[in-house]
Every structure is written in structure tokens, then in C-alpha cells.
């Protein structure tokens, strides 16, 4: 079986350079590639464009990259909960493109399915539609939204095998599957890396064909943004 295994996050990200466009999986802090983010911060690459649903919190997730001023532009759907992000945005240090969450998912999906663009009704009649082609199908208006082009996609899965097959747990699947399919080069970090044959082919969420590098991460903090318990 084709072997995608690399040693660690440092090796996985070794050819990411200043000015690259990265997709980063996760929703809030759930299912984010913690090991690769740490390695990117350590490497100190700058002027990155990051496509990610959220921008982390001040001291975790993509927030760590924002602290080091490594991000030139964020493409996200929701960026609340991050004071440093807001400061950089209002001061003009950071360029931000806010897009509807479904549009973010579909533009990843389009890239992973080899489709140049999709049509969505999200954003019709709003500032999101400015400058975009509108088409009417069956009496309803839709915006033309193009597939993303990202040099790298970085995702985090629960389990994976060295062939690159991935399985996700609970709601940590979120953007990880579609981003995994969308990167020109896709890096997957997993909590548990096993040999081919140890994962049930019936349960695979992303087939290894989409994955270029895989490694077993370590020391996952899995921080919870809003721990809420029933009384």
C-alpha cells in the first residue's frame, strides 16, 4: 500500500513558505490541527492566507499564529471570541474576507470534487453578493462562488492509517473532510495512526487518495471553548 507517513508536524509542514494559502480544518477549537499549528508558529512563516471557519481564540488555535503576526489574510465565516483578531482587523493589519459558512464548505467541496464553482442562494441581496455573478434557476437567484485554490490543507482526524485513510469523531468532522479533499497538498494529523488493514473500509470518511502526508500527533489539549453542563 502507498505509504504517506511522515515523522511529525515539522516534517509535514517543512515546505510551507511565506505567502502560501492554507486551509485549516476545525469548527471553533473542535477538530483543529493543534500539532501543525504549533509547528507553523515555531517555524515563523509569515504573510499566510488562512482559510478556516474561525480564527481560534486569543491564546489557542489560529489565535497563536495571529499573535505572531503570521497571518496576512483570513477567509472565515465567524471570527468572534478573539480580541487580538478584532484589534488587527480594526487597525488594518489583517485583511479579512467573511463568507457564509455554507459557501465556505461548498467552495472546499467544489475543489475536492473537481468542480470550478458552485451556485448558492446564501448572500443574495447582501454585501456578500457585490461583484459576483447572479443566475436565476426556477425563479430563485443564486450566486456563483468559485472553488478554493489552496497550496496546503491541514486537517486533524481521530484515526488514520499510513495509506492516508481518515476517520473522524463526533462533530470534529466539520470542515476537516472537505478541506482534506481540497488541498493541492493535504496534511493530516491524527490521534491514532495505524497500519493499513486496521481500519474498517466501511467506516472511512476520507479515502487516502486525498491525503499526501500523515502523522500521529501528540499532546492534544483539545481545549473546550464553552464548556456547558446540565444542572
Amino acid at each position: 500500500m502507498i505509504n504517506k507517513k511522515v515523522a511529525n508536524a515539522e516534517e509535514a509542514i517543512s515546505d510551507i513558505k511565506d505567502g502560501d494559502t492554507l486551509m485549516l480544518g476545525g469548527f471553533g477549537l473542535c477538530g483543529i490541527p493543534e500539532n501543525c499549528i504549533a509547528a507553523l508558529v515555531k517555524k515563523g512563516i509569515k504573510n499566510l492566507t488562512c482559510i478556516s471557519n474561525n480564527a481560534g481564540v486569543d491564546d489557542f488555535g489560529i489565535g497563536l499564529m495571529l499573535q505572531q503576526k503570521q497571518v496576512k489574510k483570513m477567509v472565515s465565516s465567524y471570527v468572534g471570541e478573539n480580541a487580538e483578531f478584532e484589534r488587527q482587523l480594526l487597525s488594518g493589519e489583517l485583511d479579512v474576507e467573511l463568507i457564509p459558512q455554507g459557501t465556505l464548505a461548498f467552495r472546499c467541496m467544489a475543489a475536492g470534487y473537481g468542480m470550478p464553482a458552485i451556485f448558492t442562494p446564501a448572500g443574495i441581496g447582501t454585501e456578500v453578493a457585490i461583484g459576483k455573478e447572479v443566475r436565476n434557476f426556477n425563479g430563485k437567484d443564486y450566486l456563483l462562488e468559485k472553488a478554493f485554490e489552496a497550496n496546503f490543507a491541514i486537517v486533524k482526524a481521530w484515526k488514520g492509517d499510513t495509506a492516508g485513510n481518515l476517520i473522524f469523531k463526533a462533530t470534529s468532522r466539520n470542515f476537516n473532510t472537505v478541506m482534506a479533499m481540497a488541498g493541492k497538498i493535504t496534511i493530516a494529523e491524527v490521534e491514532e495512526l495505524v497500519a493499513p488493514g486496521e481500519l474498517d473500509p466501511n467506516q472511512i470518511h476520507v479515502p487516502g487518495v486525498y491525503i499526501h502526508r500523515i502523522f500521529q500527533g501528540s499532546d492534544y489539549e483539545k481545549r473546550i471553548e464553552k464548556k456547558t453542563v446540565s444542572k
Binding site: F27, G28, Q101, G102, C108, I124, G125, T126, E127, K222
Partner: protein, 219 residues
């Protein structure tokens, strides 16, 4: 005047048996606490879950299981997990029957603004633009006036729009109103003890009042 819990309680009466429902952040989240026992409802969380259950006990907390408001949650028997593309796929394919969300402003033709205050607050639209563009039925839960006492039910929205001609009903601390297809807020119910006059004063958009307006009934 209703408090937030009572607004949620009143909205819960709008939920149909055997329906799929997406609840936004804030008052809409509270609606789940007031679903009548005889109503079967399946809650969707747009980060990738159908069959969302109550908040977990301390022992059940799982960092990999959160709702779209990033709170820890649980799954009910029969729950299903999926990715963000499928989640918004089912929203745009109109498989979700009802969306309940908050708003900063609603216009008399059903436009909604709830994601940005230029120069002050930019948090982003999240999934709201998708939900309002495609849900079959959209109910807004919000305060009738803002902190400065200005009406949030307007002839036209002044803030950047989230979606156009989509809101069907509004429940506030003062009233239940339908947004008519031809435009205008039709007053359906008053909160207990609130006069039609009070609602008129708090509504800047076109208010349509026909006959006696009943008080809301809570079972």
C-alpha cells in the same frame, strides 16, 4: 412584557410535530427547553449533527462534541453526524423545516440584519446567511427595541443585510407578529398586560392591526 425564557416558551408552540429545526445562538437555544412532550422534533446543529440532545453532565463532557455555539452537548438516540458540506447541503435542499434565530433588525418585507455593525462589531455571518436563504420557515426571536429604545421592526433595515424577504414571524417581549408576503407586520398576539398602543409605539415599520388582538396563551 416577556422575559427571554417566556419568548422561548412562546416560540416553542410554533414547532410542528415531526419537524427538523435549527436553533440559533441566544434566545433560540432556550426554545429546546419548552418543547411539549407530545411533539417529536429533531434539532440540527450546523457544525454537523442531527439529533442534538441536552448539555452533558460533567462526566459526559466531550471536547469533540459541540454545537454551533461551541457549547458542549450530547447526542440523542438516533443522532447522526456529518460534515459541514452535507450540513449546509441539507439546509439548502430545504430538508430543515424551521430556523429560529436572533436579529438586530427586521424590515416590514422580511429582510433581516444580524451579523455586522459597521465600524463597531464584526463577528461574521456564520451559517445565518445560508439558513435564511433556504429555510422553509424562519422565526425571529428578539427584543422589540434596542438598548437605546429604538424600534428593531423597521420599514427598511439600516444595518448590512443577512438575507432578504425571508422572515415569516417575529416573537418579541411585547408581541407575536407575522410578516405578510405583501409587506407589513401583522400583529397576532400581545404579551400579557401589554397594550396595542405600546406595541404601536415600539414598531417603526408598517403595523397591521385587525380586530381585537388576543393575549398570548401559555399552557
Amino acid at each position: 412584557m416577556l422575559d427571554k425564557e417566556a419568548i422561548a416558551k412562546r416560540i416553542a408552540k410554533e414547532i410542528q410535530h415531526n419537524s427538523y429545526v435549527n436553533l440559533g445562538i441566544g434566545i433560540p437555544t432556550l426554545v429546546a427547553n419548552y418543547i411539549p412532550k407530545n411533539i417529536a422534533v429533531c434539532f440540527q446543529s450546523e457544525n454537523g449533527l442531527l439529533g442534538m440532545g441536552p448539555f452533558p453532565t460533567e462526566a459526559e463532557v466531550d471536547a469533540d462534541l459541540i454545537n454551533a455555539g461551541k457549547q458542549t452537548i450530547t447526542m440523542l438516540p438516533g443522532a447522526a453526524l456529518f460534515d459541514s458540506a452535507m450540513s449546509f447541503g441539507m439546509i439548502h435542499a430545504q430538508k430543515i423545516d424551521l430556523t429560529i434565530l436572533g436579529a438586530m433588525e427586521v424590515s416590514e418585507n422580511g429582510d433581516i440584519a444580524n451579523w455586522k455593525i459597521p465600524g463597531k462589531m464584526v463577528k461574521g455571518m456564520g451559517g445565518a446567511m445560508d439558513l435564511v436563504a433556504s429555510a422553509k420557515n424562519i422565526i425571529v426571536a428578539m427584543q422589540h427595541v434596542n438598548k437605546d429604545g429604538e424600534s428593531k421592526l423597521l420599514p427598511n433595515c439600516t444595518l448590512p443585510l443577512t438575507g432578504i424577504r425571508c422572515v415569516k414571524k417575529i416573537v418579541t417581549e411585547l408581541a407575536v407578529l407575522a410578516v405578510l408576503p405583501e409587506g407589513g407586520f401583522k400583529l397576532l398576539e400581545r404579551a400579557p398586560g401589554v397594550s396595542v398602543e405600546t406595541i404601536k409605539k415600539a414598531t417603526l415599520g408598517k403595523l397591521i392591526i385587525e380586530g381585537e388582538i388576543p393575549e398570548m396563551v401559555f399552557d
